[in-house]
Symmetry: C2
Subunit: 81 residues, 2 copies
């Protein structure tokens, strides 16, 4: 079993209303030094694959085919264990 994390973020330039809302809420709570905020998704997967490089390649493929919308989103994958 290999654990992989896929992080999916909106591309730069794509409007991110949830991020804006979070930034505004943090300002309201008194965190005055908050600048740009971007919100995204993270998906942690357990893969039945012992080889870390193969597991990462599989997660990349999953992100391209299902987890990310590559028109407006970019993703990164990392092997956790």
């Amino acid at each position: 079993m290999t654990k992989v994390r896929v992080s999916v973020m909106l591309k730069d330039g794509v409007l991110d209303p949830p991020g804006k809302a979070i930034g505004h809420a943090l300002q309201t709570l008194g965190f005055g030094n908050v600048g740009e905020v971007r919100a995204g998704r993270v998906i942690e997967l357990e893969l039945d694959e012992a080889d870390a490089a193969k597991a990462k390649a599989q997660a990349d493929e999953m992100a391209r085919r299902l987890l990310a919308n590559l028109v407006i989103e970019s993703f990164t994958t990392e092997v956790l264990s």
Copy 2:
């Protein structure tokens, strides 16, 4: 400016229907070796704070006060740059 990433995941044992749905969809797409899948959120923040340790401490505080529901969620923070 320091960039910080806050990852928020449901705690172990808390039901995660989106994660289950993603796992099922991946199986349907032919990724037969997918086990447990957990879905969460990621928030990337730019903080006007040069000291990385202070920026991380601020992000921890933001997560505790707004970004995570600590009853059912746990979070991790990491300084990106």
